[in-house]
Amino acid sequence: MTKILLRDKLDDCLTRWHAAGFDVVGPVRKNNISQYATVKKAGELDLGIILPDRTLKDLFFPQTEPMFSYRISKQKIDTEEYLPPGRQRIIFGARACDASAMAIDDPLFGWDYQDTYWFKRRNETVIVTIACTAADEFCMCTSLKLAPDSTQGSDILLRPLGDNRGWQVEELTDRGREAFSRIEALLEESPAQTAALADVPIKFDLDLCREWLQNPENFESHFWKEISMRCIGCGTCTFLCPTCHCFDFQDEGDTYTGIRRKNWDSCSFALFTMHTSGRNPRSTQSARWRQRIMHKFNYFPGKFNLNSCSGCGRCTRECPVDMGIIETLQEITKLSQ
């Protein structure tokens, strides 16, 4: 006997959550794009989307965020800080890969110095993940040793029922339990069967890849040039990656007043590492692609014992030139065999 949340109770859930001061965010399709967005009614949610085009990262680390404004006068500089609004929110219908990604980035934003923007939002958010019953050819969570029902990063995991009437509820964290206590009355106890999870075939051998990447000899391998030849150096894969976290600061405004912003940046861009002298440690696209792969599957795991990839597959799905992590790691797997 497990707890069940029925689909037709969802609107009531939202009402209760709203009443309890939660914003509710979920997958929405609007203006020819799907993303996680704030909803008022359950009907606005599109829970049939296999994976939204945009990632969950948007909700914790927006593409551009004002950090503080400044006003320079003759004798002093006044500043005013912008911090996240501090509203409790429930993300209903996250995917396991997206939720995992948030947990992957936690240690990065927290080592030694804590990034306020990230953690304030993390602490204010309850992630309710719905396990996937469908996947497309780009999904690769299983290759990352995750699964359509991974719990990493989630506060609640919902498993779809076989009859599609609702979800089986698995409470993972206190934060999740607290949020679901608000809708306790709407949940049911039922022995209902859960639907089969999406079948996501394993696409590459992660351990072999890691081993290959760790071998210093392969750093200068010709492989990097070959695999990245058609890379055009845009930021699609990094900006649509739920774990990619690189950023830049930009001051914007007129002469004496303005705002310092934190903006996404991408290791794919040639300017990312360029010194003002013109020297660029990663001067070629192959060096930049190598950095991306190395960082995700070698350096990051070396530092935090986590792969900086949760297998959502967006990098390949959206790549304008049909590149991506899948192809690269498949090729590395081949090289290692």
């Binding site: 950090m67 503080f68 400044y70 320079i72 002093k76 500089i77 500043t79 800080e81 911090l83 990065l108 934003f109 927290g110 080592w111 030694d112 110095y113 804590q114 990034d115 306020t116 210093p216 750093f219 200068e220 976290h245 690189c246 950023f247 830049d248 600061f249 930009q250 001051d251 405004g253 002469t255 004496y256 303005g258 310092r260 934190k262 940046d265 290791c267 990312f272 590492t273 360029m274 010194h275 003002t276 002298s277 020297r279 440690p281 990663r282 060096a287 950095q291 190395m294 960082h295 070698n298 350096y299 070396g302 530092k303």
Partner: protein
């Protein structure tokens, strides 16, 4: 995640305000600013945390931030000195700032020179061009406790006489009997009244031939100079473990998050900027 690492702020990206109290032209396009904290709490924090070798992010609101070392030693932490070459937007703005103007500072960040480990040893400082500032903070840290060290040798070279920075301090060091200062400029860079050496740093170093015995070397300079000086140091018998250098990469956050500065798996901003030559040689050369 103690308050002290957050520099007393909730927002780690928010800089302190400092005032320019002195400004000096060092060489064509190179300037030194001396800065003082405006907020005593910021200053207190700095004094507690700053150790020679660390760096900071200096900036002007409206223009941005730029990374360079703290060129003043931990033994003189009433102010911060920074020396920079005007090359981009931020350095252009800093260069045109006047005494009394306010600038921003974040830091100090990164690791330090393990100066206690140098106690009782001979020291060899080697610097090229605009890379004297990071060396200079170590030099003064040591000179300010001169009795704790053995022989001190400084080898400093620049492209031309005009490109030598801290000329007044070079003169001071020149006149001290407890320092051996070897100055050189690249062939063709000498002025008519130049009385020091002419030649590239590695070969001048080999001529000067300081003993590697019980000696720590601190080496800062452009990548090409580092490469050849390391070879020369090897010839002189220096062990890579005893050679220290600093790495400078492009940085934005300074605290290991923005993703720019790493060389291989090493985050320069957190694990550096001070490394031994042995550590550097373990980094992937193609990323340096």
């Amino acid at each position: 995640m103690t308050d002290n690492t957050q520099n007393g702020r909730q927002n780690i990206y928010k800089p302190a305000i400092m005032k320019i109290v002195a400004k000096r032209d060092e060489a064509p396009g190179v300037k030194t600013l001396r800065l003082e904290f405006q907020n005593p709490a910021d200053h207190e924090q700095f004094k507690q945390r700053y150790r020679t070798g660390m760096f900071g992010l200096y900036g002007i609101y409206g223009e941005g931030e730029s990374t360079f070392c703290v060129a003043s030693p931990e033994t003189r932490n009433e102010y911060i000195e920074c020396t920079f070459r005007q090359s981009g937007r931020v350095t252009a703005a800093l260069a045109s700032a006047e005494i009394g103007d306010l600038v921003t500072y974040r830091g100090p960040y990164g690791n330090r020179f393990p100066i206690e480990d140098f106690y009782g040893k001979n020291l060899l400082f080697i610097a090229g061009g605009i890379a004297l500032p990071p060396t200079r903070s170590v030099i003064w840290s040591c000179l300010d406790q001169r009795d704790k060290f053995g022989k001190i040798t400084i080898v400093y070279g620049a492209r031309t006489v005009a490109d030598l920075v801290y000329k007044h301090e070079l003169e001071e060091w020149q006149n001290r009997s407890d320092i051996e200062l070897v100055l050189t400029v690249d062939p063709g860079g000498e002025s008519p009244d130049w009385q020091h050496r002419i030649g590239f740093v590695p070969s001048i170093l080999e001529q000067a031939a300081p003993s590697a015995e019980n000696c720590i070397a601190v080496l800062c300079g452009p990548p090409i100079m580092i490469k050849f000086t390391l070879i020369s140091l090897g010839k002189l018998g220096f062990n890579e473990e005893n050679v220290y250098t600093t790495l400078e990469n492009r940085m934005k956050c300074g605290v290991g998050k923005c993703g720019r500065c790493n060389v291989g798996s090493v985050y320069i901003c957190k694990e550096g900027p001070v490394f031994t030559a042995a550590e550097v040689s373990r980094m992937p050369a193609g990323d340096l």
